[in-house]
Symmetry: C2
Subunit: 364 residues, 2 copies
């Protein structure tokens, strides 16, 4: 299979397209604007695949990423990250040519924008619905009210609505708990929409996480979804019971460089600088860095039982292998690793190789 | 301080030079060849600083890195990674123009090299002295003997000696234990040198880890040291009691984007794609992703007490802060983070900004 010399991030394009189709159809079925997060793939070319499903609005996680996709003809971009005041020049430059949607969570940031914006931007108030990372507490009506007033009095800022990211679904212990977090998030946002209904003609409610967007079918009063990871999925989503391993669309192909049958371990060229040090602890308290697959006739198989990436150094991966499996492994073979967190692996690898043997580039 | 808009990896060049001087003088004092590992900094320009201390032989962790440094006039390079058979073309190309030292741990790899090499290479047998990652068990005299015989019968391969990396010093619970692992490593290598003294005119013993090379002063019969991380050090070395935080030479400058006084947390632009997800658990069972410093008059201070990076998302860092410290922090400020693992942070950031405001580039 292919002429792989070094760690190479394989992309199953057909599966990736199926993942996009699934989420796109779900959005349509539920009358939701589909504004996918492009931080996972970070690729103009993969972005084009989304246009085939009618997508024309996207989400990114940095100003730099907004610049990259704006340069690739995306004209309506939400930067789902609190406004970084120090990038005001880039923000002004972007807002000149595209519809730019920003997130705020303080009065001070609105004041800063009001004083420093050259062009009009749309503003969402970031709401914390339990993730405790960023955002205004969904019960802090006083602060939300102050931010809205400040926006209203600002000339170049349009209040668009409330945006949240239920990142705590990634800590859920079951699909049922993901559902509970999701419903609680929707309830909090609905409440805000009702309370502040006079603040704008149309208040948009935007939510984002891949676990809930994949599993749930209740989106009452929600206007927009922004999932990102679903484009590839990964072992983390599998461990959360969000997906099966069959829908994972990326796999790191790694050359085998040493075989240690005595301790049932192989060493591959493929380490922390390829996979990232994202780790997961499964239900049996086993901490690991990836699942292991064999490559076969131009694609990868299901994960091997009793095999996992046990440790990562900068360039080395140590894979624990079943006694039978290891018998047929030799230096020079290629072994596949399904990444724990596909966003971080893609970010490190900087390009993809499709199963059709085409290179797909990413933002640098 | 500077005009920092985005996460920026600051480099204290004077401290970096002091770190190089320290290790270089230690090598000289102990009559050791100093062959520093360049995987930490991955920069041709920083490489030049080493030449000022008489260094003309280096270590790298991949064929790609060897190509980069060979292109920057390094003519004697050890690739401290098991030979990856799939890169034989690049290996042949490199061996044409430089002195190339490779690592093997199986008879099969020697056989492959013998059949496929166009030019002469030097070979070290990688010895496992307790790290259990790669290498032949230091007691497996039978396999070592077979590999040496195979090398002897190969035309283009010269047996150079035994090389080990006591990576298990990173799991030591005390400096005393680091010393114990170090002495045990030396004892194993000395034993091999004695046993196989007839295999070559000169058998080189090469060792590598920063913890032992920093702390220890006993190097009997060792010919060469290959530490890498010491060029910057990091919080991991600090937690191992290998160094004080004052010698850490890199620091990620991060814009503050949100302040949550109620839960004593700030959010910075600086996440897993900047710092890496390397984490450490300290003596109080606190898991964290970096220590926090203030930037002051063009340099950074000592780490703030009771402050640490609590969590990382793709672009976000969540910093826990003392009640007093957080009072003076505002969005738009810059906060410094000392990385847990400087090798991985540097690899992600791809360039440095010195405190003298000069950009230093790295391998891409």
């Amino acid at each position: 299979m292919f002429n792989i010399e070094k760690p190479t991030l394989l992309l199953n394009k057909q599966q990736c397209l199926a993942n996009i189709r699934y989420m796109s159809e779900k959005a349509q079925r539920n009358y939701l604007e589909f504004r996918p997060h492009f931080k996972t793939h970070q690729s103009a070319e993969i972005g084009e695949w989304f246009r085939g499903f009618g997508v024309n609005k996207i989400t990114v996680s940095s100003v730099t990423m907004a610049e990259y996709f704006a340069a690739n003809n995306w004209t309506d971009i939400t930067i789902a990250f609190p406004v970084n005041l120090r990038e005001i020049n880039s923000i002004n430059y972007l807002a000149k040519s595209i519809t730019l949607n920003l997130l705020v969570e303080s009065v001070e940031t609105v004041e800063f924008l009001n004083s420093n914006l050259d062009n009009k931007v749309n503003l969402f108030i970031k709401i914390d619905t339990g993730n405790n990372r960023t955002g205004v507490d969904s019960k802090n009506f006083n602060l939300i009210s102050k931010i809205i007033s400040k926006i209203d009095s600002a000339e170049k800022i349009l209040f668009k609505g409330f945006l949240s990211h239920a990142g705590h679904t990634y800590k859920a212990i079951s699909p049922e708990q993901i559902g509970a977090f999701h419903r609680q998030q929707i309830s909090s946002l609905k409440n805000l929409k009702k309370l502040f209904r006079n603040a704008s003609e149309e208040i948009i409610l935007s939510i984002g996480d891949t676990p809930a967007c994949t599993l749930e079918d209740y989106f009452e009063d929600i206007d927009e979804i922004r999932p990102g990871n679903f484009v590839f999925y990964d072992v983390m989503q599998y461990e959360l019971s969000v997906c099966d391993t069959g829908v994972i669309a990326v796999c790191l192909a790694c050359p085998v460089v040493a075989v240690h049958k005595n301790r049932q371990e192989i060493v591959v060229y493929g380490g922390a600088v390829h996979l990232s040090k994202e780790t997961i602890t499964d239900g049996f308290d086993r901490k690991y860095y990836g699942l292991v697959v064999k490559l076969n006739k131009g694609r990868w198989d299901m994960p091997l039982k009793d095999c996992y990436v046990k440790a990562l150094s900068q360039e080395h991966g140590i894979i624990k292998m079943g006694e039978k499996e290891i018998q047929n492994i030799n230096p020079g073979d290629i072994i596949g690793v399904l990444p724990i967190h596909s966003c971080l692996t893609a970010n490190l690898m900087k390009q993809y190789l499709t199963l059709e043997n085409e290179i797909i580039t990413m933002m640098r």
